[in-house]
Amino acid sequence: MVRLRRGLAVLLVISACGGTSVDIADIAVLPVASTTDIESLLASSQQPVVMNVWASWCIPCRSEAPLLAQAHASFRDDIRFVGIDVRDSQDNARGFLAEFDLDIFEHYFDGNGVIPGAFGGRGVPLTFFFREGGELSYLHFGVIDERTLAVHLDELTR
């Protein structure tokens, strides 16, 4: 019985951790983008661009979202962060952004999921690192870890 109580206490503490901090109503509808829109965004950007491909239904994307928010906080002055939401619904996408406070950078909606393929990516999540002018520096397939993200962000700023 004592063990059960202790277990429940631990579960209560853990369940109190995390949670949504932004109201979904505060998140704007994501603008729909095409491959051409993103190509012109990359070509005209005055800064290197990190483009993360995500979806609200993608469990690994949920897992790396806090890391991207941290990366944005550290590099927002030097690097432009762009999110591409693929094969998703607007409501779920806005819920995802609210849950992870990820509305701190720009996101585009790609309902058919064609944009990543145009840049050589497949699957979700993906993280593209583009130099100024839109030249691809590195493409990471799958969940990205802190060290890899930090090295490639550092590479873009040099």
């Binding site: 469990i59 890391l67 870890d145 802190e146």
Partner: protein
């Protein structure tokens, strides 16, 4: 799917297995009733789970509402909490033989950490901060050279593992061996951490704690050796 992380983990596990049995074959095994291989697997698994849960909670993700995230180990494992989890699991599994088991596993643990770090060659993640040193390595398509910090760390762990093997044969004092191992692991991390790229806070405090705790254990072990010869 991308299996390079699994490859690095397997290298670490293989190194632990190899060192345990190599030491046993050379008569350098711990004088305890526990199977060191079983204990090491249990402690490593517990450390991985605790470290992953800690990383999730620190990042603001609730493990109860997002249980699937626990499996996404690549997203991060908190080093400090993982070490605490592994050490607590080792103590729980080995019970009254904790010191003997810790001493017996010391060299294998350091070799395992070294092999895990060497796994950066499989994962292509050895790159650290920028350097002009001639042995610097570059990311694909880049001219910027960086410290091969994963290799530095692996080599230092292997050297520490050899030193601990030598110490085990000389002292026959598992408490001292455990303390030296803890201090060595913390020191290797502490020395190499500034050469790693990081986004936010570094686990320097954890590494310093390991060094001081290890030195403290060594002092206690020496004192006990004098008092109880």
């Amino acid at each position: 799917m991308e299996f390079s992380l699994l490859g690095a983990a397997l290298l670490g596990v293989a190194a632990v297995y190899g060192v345990i049995y190599w030491e046993a074959a050379r008569g350098n095994a711990a004088d305890c009733s526990k199977d060191l291989w079983d204990v090491s697997l249990g402690a490593a698994t517990a450390g991985l789970v605790v470290g992953r849960l800690a990383a999730m909670i620190i990042a603001g993700t609730n493990p109860l509402t997002e249980p699937g995230d626990i499996l996404i180990v690549r997203s991060g494992v908190d080093t400090g909490w993982a070490a605490v989890g592994a050490l607590v699991a080792l103590a729980v599994i080995s019970r009254r033989e904790t010191v003997l088991v810790a001493g017996g596993l010391a060299a294998a643990a350091l070799a395992g950490l070294g092999a895990w770090e060497a796994g950066c060659l499989v994962r292509d993640t050895c790159h650290g901060t920028v350097t002009d040193l001639p042995w610097g390595i570059s990311l694909g398509g880049s001219e910027i050279t960086r410290h091969p910090v994963g290799i530095y760390t692996a080599l230092l762990f292997f050297v520490a593992a050899l030193a601990v093997m030598w110490l085990k044969r000389r002292t026959q004092n598992p408490l001292m061996v455990g303390g030296v191992t803890l201090a060595a692991a913390g020191s290797v991390r502490l020395v190499t951490e500034p050469m790693r790229s990081a986004l936010g806070g570094r686990p320097t405090l954890w590494y310093l704690t390991a060094v001081f705790l290890g030195v403290g254990v060594v002092v206690v072990a020496q004192y006990r050796q004098r008092v109880e010869p």
